[in-house]
Every structure is written in structure tokens, then in C-alpha cells.
Assembly symmetry: C2
Homo-oligomer: 328 residues x 2
């Protein structure tokens, strides 16, 4: 079915009928604004992400339902990175010619499924035609008790450095896709369908286990760099300790330099956090309960800068540069 047959308001109405409400959502899709009620003592968290065809994704690499899930997950990951819980999503869609109602429905399937999984509701948005590629903007709102907010600032020398899940497989998949190859299942899944680590972020915040927290979108060393800048500390990272998935491990056997995908690849959407050594057992217990966590280094005084040990434990010059959208 062509989009022109149902029109803009027809599409909005389809979404409205499918999007469930939420306890704090007083007014959802269909008026000029969504209206939400927030509890006292809680902070509102808000983050916006853009996803642009040919920059962030290609439509021939992933089905539209999976793309819808990913758009939600990468945005919700920012709320997880503050120790918060997502509540509402707002979706902006610039839709190129040739997109059909079935395409939009498939995309919406993914968006709504991911929202449900994260306990968030689709509360509003905007749609229009695009003369260029598919443009997607996603804005998430979440909440966190005011005394539990976790930021990039707060890491202290002596803290241990932890990461959730596994690193580098999303970048490995992208590398293979760009070369015309077909990524292995673990790498493909990491790239196309990352999970936001909401339960882990909430647990770290609620139990007071982390001193600083960020999600890895630009690459481990680049995002660690944000913690170092905000916290005014240095850090040591041990390459041998990095948690790697099966596809990256297999590729590393042939080309050890691919470890850089775990250090600087980006789009992992894992949580990177710092925690005092005395709390290591409690952190490890969360790793057993929720999602694996791995200690990959520790925090040093600011004067020590960022130090990196290679897989053999030898000092290596680290590059903090992750993906730079305006890079030459």
C-alpha cells in the first residue's frame, strides 16, 4: 500500500492505535505535545539520537523491524548510562519516496517491540517526506531517583574499570559488511540488534556500586576518554582482559591487529563504569545475575593519563580517537 493512500494522519492514527499508554503518560500521541506526570525526587533524563541512512545503517543490511529495534536500543542506552529507566520515546521520521505502508509498519513493529521490552511507551513524534535518505530521530525520556544519578564524572584513582558484555563485534560486522562480506552470527547480532543495558545500569545506581558510568558508542578508549576528562583522572586498560565474542576471537587468530575493533570500534552499547575495589564482589554478583561484567583495568591519577597494555602485557600507545562524524 502506498503511503499517500493513508496519508500522514492515517499513519499517525495507525501508530496511536498500536502504542500503549503508560501510568505517567497523561496524554500520548495525537495532540501538540505529550504530557507526563513525574514523581517528586526523581530526575527527568532526556537524550536525542539521529540515525541517517548511508551514515548509520543501510537498508539492504538489516530488515526494517530490526532497524526499528536498534533505533530504540541505542537511544535507551543513553538512559541506562545514567543509571536510569526509560519511560517515553519520541520518533521523527523523514521518509524517502518508495517507502510503503508495509515498510513503515515493519519499522514500527520493531520500535514498539523494543519500547515494550524496555518498559517505555511511544509518546509522540513527527513524520514527513525526505528528498534524500531515510532520516530517523529518536528522543528518549527516562527517570532516575535524584540521589542515584550516575554521570561521567566521579571516577577516583584506585577504582576498578569494568565493562559489560563483549566488545568489538559490532565494529567487526560493520567492517565485513563494508567489504561486501557476511558477518558471523554473533557479530551480526551485536551490530544490528544491540541491547541497552538498562537493568545493569539501574542496579549499579540503586545499589551505589559505580562512581562513573557511560555507554560505549564511539569506542572503548574514546568513551573512557570522556570519563577521564569529566572525572579528572587517568586509567590503565589491559587488552588481554577485554571480553571478546566468538566471531572476533576467530578473526583475531588470523589478524591480531583486529583487537583495535574492541578498543576503538564503537557501537558496542555496553556500559563502561568505575567502582571502588571493595565493591568488586557486589559488581561481580550483578554480572552473574544480569549480564556478564569484566574488569578491564583501573583508574589512575590524572597525571598518568591513559595507559594501554597490549595482549602480551606490553605498554602500547593508546589512541583515544573513536568515530568522528566530521573527521576528514
Amino acid at each position: 500500500m502506498k503511503l499517500s493512500e493513508i496519508g500522514e494522519f492515517g499513519f499517525i492514527d495507525r501508530l496511536r492505535r498500536r502504542a500503549p499508554g503508560g501510568a505517567e503518560l497523561v496524554l500520548g500521541i495525537g495532540d501538540d505535545c505529550a504530557a507526563s506526570r513525574l514523581a517528586p525526587g526523581e530526575l527527568l533524563l532526556t537524550s536525542t539520537d539521529l540515525l541517517i541512512e548511508e551514515v548509520h545503517f543501510r537498508r539492504d543490511w538489516s530488515d526494517l523491524k530490526t532497524l526499528g529495534r536498534k533505533c530504540v536500543s541505542v537511544n535507551v542506552s543513553d538512559v541506562a548510562a545514567m543509571g536510569g529507566e526509560p519511560s517515553s520515546l519520541y520518533l521523527g521520521l523523514g521518509i524517502p519516496a518508495g517507502f510503503g505502508v508495509e515498510d513503515l509498519d515493519a519499522f514500527a513493529d520493531g520500535v514498539l517491540a523494543a519500547c515494550a521490552e524496555y518498559g517505555a511507551v511511544l509518546a509522540g513524534g513527527d513524520t514527513c517526506g525526505s528528498p534524500g535518505p531515510l532520516f530517523i530521530s529518536v528522543t528518549v525520556q527516562g527517570r532516575v531517583p535524584e540521589d542515584q544519578l550516575l554521570t561521567r564524572a566521579g571516577a577516583r584513582p584506585g577504582d576498578l574499570l569494568w565493562v559489560s558484555g563483549r566488545l568489538g563485534e559490532s565494529a567487526l560486522a560493520l567492517r565485513e559488511l563494508l567489504a561486501g562480506g557476511r558477518p558471523g552470527p554473533s557479530a551480526a547480532n551485536a551490530h544490528h540488534d544491540p541491547r541497552a543495558r538498562v537493568a545493569l545500569g539501574r542496579a549499579l545506581a540503586a545499589q551505589g556500586l559505580a562512581t562513573a558510568l557511560i555507554d560505549i558508542s564511539d569506542g572503548l578508549l574514546a568513551d573512557l576518554g570522556h570519563i577521564l576528562d569529566s572525572s579528572a583522572v587517568g586509567a590503565l586498560v589491559e587488552s588481554a582482559a577485554l571480553p571478546l565474542g566468538p566471531d572476533l576471537r576467530a578473526s583475531l587468530a588470523a589478524d591480531p591487529s583486529l583487537i583495535d575493533l574492541a578498543l576503538s570500534g564503537g557501537e558496542d552499547y555496553e556500559l563502561l563504569f568505575t567502582s571502588p575495589p571493595a565493591l568488586a564482589p557486589a559488581v561481580a554478583a550483578l554480572g552473574t545475575e544480569l549480564v556478564p561484567v569484566t574488569q578491564i583495568g583501573r583508574i589512575l591519577p590524572q597525571g598518568d593519563g591513559l595507559r594501554l597494555l597490549d595482549a602480551q602485557g606490553r605498554p602500547r600507545k593508546p589512541s583515544r580517537s573513536g568515530f568522528n562524524h566530521f573527521g576528514s
Copy 2:
């Protein structure tokens, strides 16, 4: 200066240093989310808008500072349309090749100036390259006391129908620009630099003067249609009563059919609201104090549908179709 010389984080840092904080903004630009504190008894209002080059604007029609102002104003207008006050803005920018730092600074000038004018702060965003046109997403958050929320629902038969400012000049300017002409100053200003009617919306809400409220983005009759649908009422609109600016008045003398620009043109960003007749003196007083308001019709029972009188007071078949982004 090329954008690649300062990089994505350089640009974010430039914005961060220029964006003032706000009392309720605990954490602004520079972490994974912005964090805000909200007062009990207030509702959070949120709205997202997309503005895409060649769809919503052309760069050769307006300077980038004015474009930045317009992006904020059209988004803030949605908060005004709920009786609310804007507090924070989140900006997503997909930036085409060839855009320089000076271009971004000019755009940011307009964004920040408009934010300051509306009492809102720029609290976050996302930037990346665009392989197509300039792509802008704006998300606004605002607040309204819970018992003052004004929606599209609530209009009752007998209510008077009011509109702020003047209608049709934005569409007149667009028509002339598309034909390669040069709009008059009043029309050009209405199109390129509309003002969100925040003070009027707040006053209507705080003084309990309106039963339903919307802003006119798709066109008077189309947006009135939303009120009729949501409120389950009909309406009568008198063309002779429509407030028109000097450029549209001059054009009408040559071509009376241009009255349709005031009825269906769109992008007026004026407030359209309904109010019981007994409150007319108080509404008129706001018009004297804040921005002119004009009574253009009244609300009828739902069975009467939407009725339109032409400039001579004769019944005319109304078209509720405003601008449809997916129209054929």
C-alpha cells in the same frame, strides 16, 4: 573553517560553552542525557519536529541564523498550544558536506537567541554528517500546571472561535518564493521568522479562558478539524472575519481566491482556541495586552459539521485538507 578541523566534539564543546543552564537543568550538554528536576503538580510537555532542507526550507531563501530561530519557534509553538511554558530544547543536526563552522555558528546563534527569548535552554542533542540535505530535529520540553493543561478536546457548542495574529501570509510568502518571486516584508517575516505565542497560551491556561487550544501549522481548517474531531463538535468559520496581513490584503485585491491561503495555507503558528461567550471580554483584554486576537466563528453541535461562509457571507463548501506530507 572546516568542520573537520574542530571535529564533532569540538562543535559540541562550542555549543556547551555558549548554552546557559537553567534552574531545573541539573545536567546539560555533555553527558549521555540531560537531567532535569521538575516541580510536583506540573506536567512535562514534550514535542518533536523535523525540518528537512528542500521540504521545509531552502538555504537560499533564509539565512542560517533566521532558520535556527524558526526551528525553535515552530517547536516551542507546540508547547504554547498546550498552555505551557518551554524549558529545554534538544537539537539533532544531520549536516551535509560543505557546511562550515561559521554556518553552524550562525545556525546556533539563531537557536540560542530564540531559546533565550522563550526562556528555554539548549540542553542536549546529536550531530552527524548527512549524505543528503540538511536534516534538523528539534525536541522541546515544557511544563504546565496539571490543572491548566489545554488540549484539542474540550470545545463545546456555543463557544466562540478565536485566532491570534494574522493568517495566510506565511503561505503567501512560500507561494511567491516557489514562483521565483520576492515576498513582501510582512509575508517574508511571517514565513521565515514566526513567533510562538507562549505568553498568550500561558495566559489562556492560567486564567482558564480556553476550552480547546491548538496551533495552526497545517492550515486553519485542517487544525480546526483536529479540534472538531477531538471535541466531537462542529464549527462555523466566517471568511470575512479572518485577520489578514498587509501583503495578503494587497494580493487579495487582484485575486480573491487567495483567501484560501488564510484558510488552508499552514505554517501560521498562530493559536486557534475556543472560549465561552461570557469570557469574550477577558479574551479581548489579552488581545490588547499580548498579541491581537480575533473572533472568526463559533462552535456548533457535531451534527452541523464544519461550515464556512465566504467573504460575502455566503455558504461555501469547506476543505479540511491542509498540507499532507504524504499526499500524492
